[in-house]
Symmetry: C2
Subunit: 335 residues, 2 copies
């Protein structure tokens, strides 16, 4: 059994979607033991079983609150109490679809950073024309420095190698041209760090090539990463919506689309972020999974499934060891 | 007749695609007079007519050259000679699908900036679920300051109002959350400038809402704007590619997709960047249209068509007047 803490008050559709997701997880994942953190009133209707425990707290972080402030003022918020369970070894992984700034700040403050890591970062798995790839940072940091971006690449590389067994992941830096001279100041500085590192550095990659599957890791600042991620989701939705509008113009089109419905469903499943469930926060001392703010029950179930995988694989310990070794090899991990 | 200068050496598929685009334009746009700038050897086969003139030069800017360097070393490059024709009143508009950094630098150096404008910016028209909107800056500048972003919004607003007659355009600032506190340092500072301006400021917009048609203008730094633009193109292509791969799995799907082919074609046309042809560089003293580096003949024809529209409407003069008036009204246009 692996013990997963779930923040039931995090996310745009909390607590209902989270509770339904937790139930789905219990029905489908026999190795999971859930610790649900939230108000007594919310949790009292949740079915008791051998696979579930509760931690009651009335406080929680709203989606629009400032992470710095809540960390001081809401010490008993569900996110923070949940992270304390992880720190104290009561749980093996933590899942929240709540205020991601608060999850990041709480993780750094309560769990601490892996030695050598300056800034933890969110590593999101994305589908491509070939293998899925990792976009890092998907929004843990804004205004990163070149050295931070270099470390994001290092962490994602070790993550893919150690956890998914992908040898020598190709790392690319997101920019506005493939040539090394192109980009803003930050990208130019980071390019130098990657070029002289031992990592399998591909060079700059343009926005248009992200989804082609040319590389295993795309590195960028969290501000840009978050915009790219949300833009992609919004655009995919818009494209399907526009396509639907066109199809509606003729009965023949509608009939044709009806026949190929299976292809559409299979395509949607392949590109649906809900299939991935959540993204690990790499660089903190614990298995923290940040789920999408718009998570429904299905997405939460998948986030718990991913948390289970990471707990089984001992993600954080393995990453800590890999980072330590790359330090020993003389990698420039410390500033 | 309106005189449009075309750089035949600019673009990934130059000069062939540009020459074919120029021919298409001459066949379809009777009001156009083209001045083609490029090597004699390249232009000698182009059919002579009353609607075309040539300016021969052997020099041109490669796609990967540094704008600053070529501006010094290649004074007779097709981009720069073409811009000189615009400056000297010999032509009404200029089109290039070439090195956009060189077009921007050349425009600033040769044409000069509209008084009050600190940084010219590329305004790209994008399709949405509702009306098309403007993304500014699409890549003229990297590392912009808050005041630059504010001016991008002002210019795009005046552009939409004056040229397209769209009243009080809603301007949004691209960020990672709708709340005013969210974003990086640059966005937070810019948010303050917009909030206290007379512009119709919508607030922050997230990546996922760009294509929903909620606003008329989306403002961001050129580094991010260019990534968003290319990401969108790449993703749209990838989605159609993935969809095709799914459809191929069954004969029924294939047959269904065949029936709805008309819908797909119409959708593609609606979202194809080639339909828009090119994007104006706002803030310089002249009608400069920057076309996509991957432009084919059809895209070039449309860019020339757009150049014709802007020449007819007297885009630059109108924008200059509008900016001057907004200066008189006490808008903070000067630093």
């Amino acid at each position: 059994m692996f013990r997963i803490v779930v923040d039931v008050m995090g996310g745009d559709f909390a607590p209902e979607a989270i509770l339904r997701g937790a139930k789905l997880a219990l029905e489908n994942l026999p190795e999971v033991f859930l610790i649900l953190v939230g108000p007594k009133e919310v949790l009292k209707t949740f079915p008791n079983s051998k696979q579930v425990d509760f931690l009651f707290t009335e406080e929680y972080v709203r989606m629009d609150e400032s992470p710095g402030e809540v960390l001081k003022k809401k010490k008993r918020a569900s996110i923070f109490l949940g992270l304390e369970l992880l720190r104290d070894g009561v749980a093996d992984a933590f899942v929240s679809a709540g205020n991601s700034g608060a999850v990041v700040a709480g993780s750094i403050f309560i769990l601490g950073r892996i030695p050598g890591v300056r800034r933890p970062a969110i590593a999101t798995l994305l589908p491509t024309l070939k293998e899925p790839m990792v976009l890092i940072d998907a929004g843990a940091n804004v205004d990163s420095k070149a050295y931070d971006l270099y470390q994001f690449g290092l962490m994602a590389s070790l993550f893919l190698e150690t956890i998914w067994g992908r040898p020598k992941p190709r790392i690319a830096l997101l920019s506005i041209g493939e040539e090394s001279g192109k980009g803003n100041q930050l990208v130019k500085e980071t390019h130098k760090l990657f070029s002289t590192s031992k990592l399998n550095y591909y060079g700059n990659i343009e926005g248009r090539d992200i989804y082609k599957g040319l590389v295993d890791v795309v590195v960028c600042d969290g501000f840009i990463g978050n915009i790219c991620l949300k833009l992609s989701e919004g655009l995919a939705e818009t494209i399907l919506e526009m396509l639907k509008n066109e199809v509606k113009k003729s009965f023949l089109y509608l009939f044709g689309m009806y026949l190929s419905k299976g292809a559409l469903t299979s395509f949607k499943k392949r590109t649906d972020w809900r299939e991935y469930g959540g993204a690990p926060l790499l660089g903190v001392k614990g298995n923290v999974i940040i789920s999408h703010g718009k998570s429904d029950a299905y997405a939460i179930k998948n986030a718990i499934k991913q948390a289970l995988q990471f707990a089984k694989m001992d993600l954080y310990k393995k990453l800590e060891k890999a980072i330590e070794e790359s330090l020993l090899e003389g990698e420039k991990v410390e500033e």
